[in-house]
Symmetry: C2
Subunit: 399 residues, 2 copies
């Protein structure tokens, strides 16, 4: 058994359960005789470069458990892709602290960072185990059936759209909800879990996996208005036209020559689509909400299975490094083939997860490209768990 | 004891507990020997004009209880101020159905509607009891210590800002959260309940009760960035300059000559403020979210005390009409002077509640006009209840 110090950090967008993975890894490490000091670097690799650390042996078990239940990245986060120079600097710090175990919790960019550091170590003949622990609300990591963080964000989205659909039922018109997901539509698709009755919204769902046509969109909204007398639309912030140009970029370019295109943290896409519906479909009451950062950091909204799996992903990474004496890898979640929902954790090569993302499979998207299939619902339901039940008067329910 | 049929309806913006008031009133009426038929009009007075009703004796108790726990207006809602002509038409329908008890759940505009119908009835010598049951997430009804719907919306806002503050802590920069409340700042002020530690956000709170100055705002943000290295801002959608001109209207006028000013259901104000901070404070990472309709209709977010009081407000209205044989009024919530939180319900004249709104008292707003006082926290805490606890590492907490 290799003995040495450990460093762990968090990277990319926060999630509601990223601290479960942190707590899982730290508690597993504290239980292992192979691990000496446990450094927590602040703000991902930035904290390694700046040598800003906390001692994760000093925090009480009660604090670790309370932090695990808290959304967002407790060690801070960063969006920094390391240059070759950064890598050398990181590597010098790791050597100086005699780090033999390195864990990085994040998405595909974070996996890429671990991959680079691992390759440098191999080149230099420095014996360090480099592991990536998966996290992304976008659910777009390859090799994974789903990723820690997705189930909880999907739970927020499904609850929000469920309430919003009731709101729209009360006052009518068109409601457009813009949901996170730059390249993958899983989170936007999760809005479909809001439906209880056949005439419940969302009535239309637009994903980045299918080209978005403004003409088709307006036609779809008119048809839904005709059928239901109202319309709730879930749309991904990442929708793009048939040439791959983000709709927001296109419209922003057309209407405003100043600004940069920014998908999250702005209400621009929702406002643009609302304007289109008002003008081109002639509907008076059109409203748009952009769910924004609430989707990934809302306290008390974590899905139970997501929280549990995030914890176990952290444990699995440490166990692979310490007990299995593997030198590197990324923990991947696989779904058991059994009818009853369950998962297993496997360690896969870093290069399989790094950089590139995965998309919604065709089987999850309807033929018209404006909704999801029952196969998606079946896939997503156990990740999200039961939602608060909502009821309507019997006399107001259709058939 | 007067005997007769009853009509009840819901009006204005939905809330998470407006169906509690409906269930409370209907169940109390079903228990009373004075009430015959119980009509539920769909979409407020529109349903009276259109003669679209459901029979609220037909719904099972289980359904009523399930509907009570469901957000948004189960009978549908409307934003229609009745004209003199409408009133005559409404009145004809009420007479035709032999309605002797009329209950309307809503805000100050709804109280105005009840007031007008009641005055018409008195003029005509038609014996009908007209009651307003309070509801508004804005918390701006006169005569009330607070209003049903506020506590739950405030709970959503406090949770959202709590998570958002953790998100901002992880990635830094400035985050602007735009919160509902056209004339009254109570809901925006409730963001302050998110704070656990001294350096927690929101660091700045802007309310419609104080004139908003862009220069002062930029200066405040710079100072907060200097102090905390990051800044979370809660701002009411209704902020206006010293001449009472809404900031959104002002900016929209300056940058876009097409559109009407619309406060909710658009991300424009947040985006405008973010642009100002980027340009005038020279801060790179600036994000804005507009909480939008999620604030009033999120399932599973109701505050326990809010749900209970909304139910009792419905019961109190029916009891006043049936047992006390009062001819009209609005149910008002009064806070008991006792140290332990508690409320009583009183029936007040309709004209005291109708039309005009109330604002945040001066004692709830800090001197600088960019935050709230401990007196506000003390006022709001019992209405919202305990929030999900969030934890940080001991080594990262100040002092």
């Amino acid at each position: 058994m290799k003995k040495g110090n450990m460093l762990i950090a968090q990277s990319g967008g926060p999630s509601m359960v990223i601290n479960q993975s942190l707590a899982g890894a730290v508690l597993a490490a504290r239980d292992s005789k192979a691990v000496g000091k446990i450094y927590g670097a602040l703000h991902g690799i930035q904290g390694i470069l700046d040598a800003t650390f906390i001692d994760l042996r000093k925090e009480s078990r009660a604090t670790l458990e309370a932090v695990a239940d808290t959304p967002s990245s407790a060690l801070g986060s960063v969006r920094r892709k390391p240059t070759a120079e950064d890598c050398q600097a990181i590597f010098r710090v790791l050597r100086k602290l005699d780090i033999r175990y390195f864990f990085y919790i994040g998405g595909n960019d974070s996996a890429e960072t671990v991959h680079i550091i691992n390759e440098e170590a191999v080149k230099d003949g420095y014996g360090i185990s480099c592991f990536h622990i998966p996290k992304t609300i976008d659910n777009d990591l390859r090799e994974n059936d789903h990723t820690p963080g997705f189930g909880s964000a999907a739970r927020f989205v499904a609850c929000a759209v469920k309430g919003d659909d009731l709101d729209n039922r009360a006052l009518g018109g068109v409601k457009i909800d813009v949901i996170m997901g730059r390249n993958a539509g899983f989170l936007t698709a999760a809005s479909a879990l809001a439906r209880q009755d056949d005439d419940d919204g969302p009535h239309l769902i637009y994903l980045p996996e299918r080209p978005f046509s403004v003409e088709k969109f307006v036609k779809d909204v008119k048809a839904a208005m005709k059928k239901n007398g109202r319309c709730v639309v879930a749309v991904s912030e990442g929708i793009a036209d048939k040439d791959g140009m983000p709709i927001l970029a296109k419209f922003t370019h057309e209407t405003d020559s100043h600004g940069n295109v920014q998908l999250s943290g702005t209400g621009a896409l929702g406002d643009l689509l609302a304007k289109v519906v008002k003008e081109q479909a002639g509907i008076k009451r059109v409203r748009a909400d952009t769910f924004g950062y609430l989707q990934r950091s809302f306290p008390g909204m974590a899905s139970a299975s997501d929280a549990k799996e995030a914890r176990l992903a952290g444990v699995a990474a440490v166990q692979a490094a310490v007990n299995d004496e593997m030198s590197s890898g990324s923990v991947a979640i696989r779904r058991k083939p059994s009818k009853k929902y369950g998962v297993t954790f496997e360690v896969v090569p870093l290069r399989n997860v790094a950089r590139e993302t995965r998309h919604m499979p065709d089987a999850f998207i309807n033929k018209a490209g404006n909704g999801v299939t029952p196969a998606f619902i079946e896939y997503a339901r156990p990740l999200v768990g039961a939602l608060p039940p909502c009821a309507r008067f019997a006399q107001l329910r259709r058939g």
